[in-house]
């Protein structure tokens, strides 16, 4: 075994022999990598295929695009096909139009004479290429840009409000002694038991009564008072020494200034973790937006995607591309901030 592979496959065992558990480990890890990344990669690869190619079976691994050629006498470029003649030889012809099971074709070199070809006898001429129009067209024509903006708005606003209100509450619960503090804490613990799916009907009624139906604020407000966020921040603020606050009070700082200028900056690591979580949560939210938003122009990406996927004639080439765009922020979080999240989960058990 080379030095490099010895380095990579460093094993538990002490000798040079491979223990069976080492084999299991590497099968599991490599198989796991394929299984975890594979489906998403397959989606990305598929999102660059045109509609005709998506309908094919068996599917190709790589996206191909039809080769076209500019033929004299025709305005648009025509698609090229390999046509098998009766004698078995093949020629490359351009298709003008298709009528039933036969196609009207033309030789690019002699554009004046038309040839009728049975479509059984021709195969499209293709090269590896990306159908980028899957991405461009929904952006230009569909409501996709609107959905994207709605999702960004909900995510950013909900995260900002979550950070502000949760940190204020956490400050009061960690740094003040007042009557009823334990009762408030208990109340917050109790709401951990009330996931949104349990209060859908009355919450809808409240949102309806406050006039927030079909408004992005109706999506934002019910989600921002997360007990998890208050918990996380309170635990962190408990570690900030009270002497610091006392010293500031000596210098005639107001309580608001103490919160804003001293406690918030010191709690930045916990705030960062909550911010990352909040962004992922709000970006991914589905059931509640699905209920509150019934007008198309208010849809978030997740609701919009579901609507497109539920149509009678599913336009997979658009949906796949939109799914990839929906994945982008989360993939960025994964690549750059994954460490914060994993330590957050391992430390506090939140999700």
């Amino acid at each position: 075994m080379s030095a490099a592979s010895r380095f990579v496959f460093r094993r538990r065992g002490h000798g040079n022999r491979w223990h069976w558990t080492d084999v299991v480990t590497w099968i599991w890890l490599i198989g796991g990598t394929v299984l975890m990344f594979g489906p998403a990669l397959w989606l990305v690869a598929s999102s660059f295929k045109g509609p005709a190619q998506l309908a094919e079976f068996p599917p190709t691994l790589l996206p191909y695009t039809q080769i076209t050629a500019q033929v004299e006498g025709y305005d648009d470029p025509l698609p090229l096909f390999t046509v098998t003649q009766e004698d078995g030889s093949t020629t490359i012809l351009a298709e003008i139009r298709r009528i039933g099971t036969s196609a009207q074709m033309v030789d690019p070199d002699t554009p004046s004479e038309r040839i009728d070809v049975d479509i059984e006898n021709r195969a499209p001429l293709r090269e590896v290429g990306l159908a980028t129009e899957n991405y461009v067209e929904p952006l230009v024509t569909n409501d996709f840009l609107r959905f994207l903006w709605n999702s960004v708005f909900v995510t950013v606003m909900a995260t900002l409000i979550t950070l502000l209100t949760n940190s204020m509450a956490a400050f009061a619960l960690s740094k003040y002694r007042f009557a009823g503090r334990d009762a408030v804490m208990l109340l917050i613990v109790a709401t951990l038991m009330v996931p949104l799916s349990v209060i859908l009907v009355p919450l809808y009624s409240v949102v309806n009564a406050t006039g927030l139906l079909n408004s992005l604020w109706g999506v934002i407000l019910p989600t921002v008072a997360t007990p998890t966020g208050v918990f996380l921040l309170r635990q962190y603020m408990l570690t900030i020494p009270d002497e610091l606050l006392e010293a500031a009070r000596m210098d005639n700082a107001s309580e608001w200034q103490i919160y804003w200028r001293i406690v918030l900056p010191l709690a930045a690591p916990a705030l960062a973790v909550l911010a990352i979580f909040s962004v992922v949560w709000r970006w991914n939210d589905f059931l509640w937006p699905l209920i509150v938003l019934s007008r198309r122009e208010t849809y978030t990406l997740q609701v919009g995607l579901n609507t497109y996927a539920g149509e009678l004639n599913v336009q997979w080439h658009y949906i796949l591309a939109m799914t990839v765009v929906t994945m982008i922020p989360v993939v960025l979080v994964f690549v750059f901030l994954q460490r914060f999240i994993t330590t957050g989960i391992a430390g506090a058990g939140i999700k």
């Binding site: 558990t21 068996p58 009624s205 409240v206 991914n284 539920g310 989360v330 999240i341 989960i345």
Partner: protein
Amino acid sequence: MAAIPRTLGAIVTAPLTWIARAIDPPLRWWQRLTGLNGMAAVFLLPNLAIFGVFVLFPLVLNVVYSMTAGTNILLGDRSFVGLDQYQRLLTCEDYTQAITCREDMFWTAAGNTFFFVVLQVSMMILVSTITALILNRNIRGRGFFRAVFFFPVLLSPVVVGLIWRWILQRQGLLNLIMVNLGMEPEVWLNDRAYAFTATIGVSVWAHMGFYTLILLAGLQAIPKDLYEAAEMDGTPPARVFWRITLPLLGPNLAVVLVLALIRGVQIFDEVYVLTGGGPGTSTLYLTQYIYEVGFASILRNPGLAAAASILMGLVLVVLTLVQLGLSRRNEQRGSRQ
């Protein structure tokens, strides 16, 4: 390069700082008037107000809704019917046959959810325990592989549903593999058993990374000297696993079990996108039942949906209490060490 994010940060925080400075004088006046207790109220107010309006009040309102009938969501237009909705949900001629129940869809959904939760949670624990054990070994690139298994956790349920719907469809990747192995292609999601299995597999795929992390943290908290002592005594590895690793991982396994149960009972998003509850009712689970009865169907019945959600909520309350009890015990154990 670092100057750009800093400038951007300043642009975002500048107005916030300005607002914070502007509200300081009135708050200072309030502080002089009411003292620290008054300030505590100020800090708590925004969060508790939102809490009250959007969580606590609906919680109470849910009970009211569950005792009314009608298709209108406005409470004024609904009639009080007492416990009729619960009676409707819970009446069956033969409790082993969902079809004999007055509200057969509820029982179908409850039964489906039960089998789903049992199978999904056992799969989840098995797979994430094995993964955690493997990631806990002395392997190169542990951080990378930990991230690999965590990746699907971040994906939105809608994206997860679409990814797998695309793979399981007629011209999908799975059928490509089937054909290459010389087997017949299938329309997986049109088959009741396959669709049910798919919802289990997909949700395990999407969430196992989360539980793996909790178990991995538990494994890493096991003192190394225990293993060293076992090695010195020449204890066989299997015995080390059953006598040291598993008992000491027990508390974490219990937390994972309850968390997975709580999530499993509420399963909705990825299944709704993947199968829409079908084919037929083979993947109809409780949350989708509540959603459809309360909002989506033409003959919607918010009272019935509220009653069903309260029944589901009771199960969740019990599970959450168990979880809180468990994590408190773990904390105490941790502080004693």
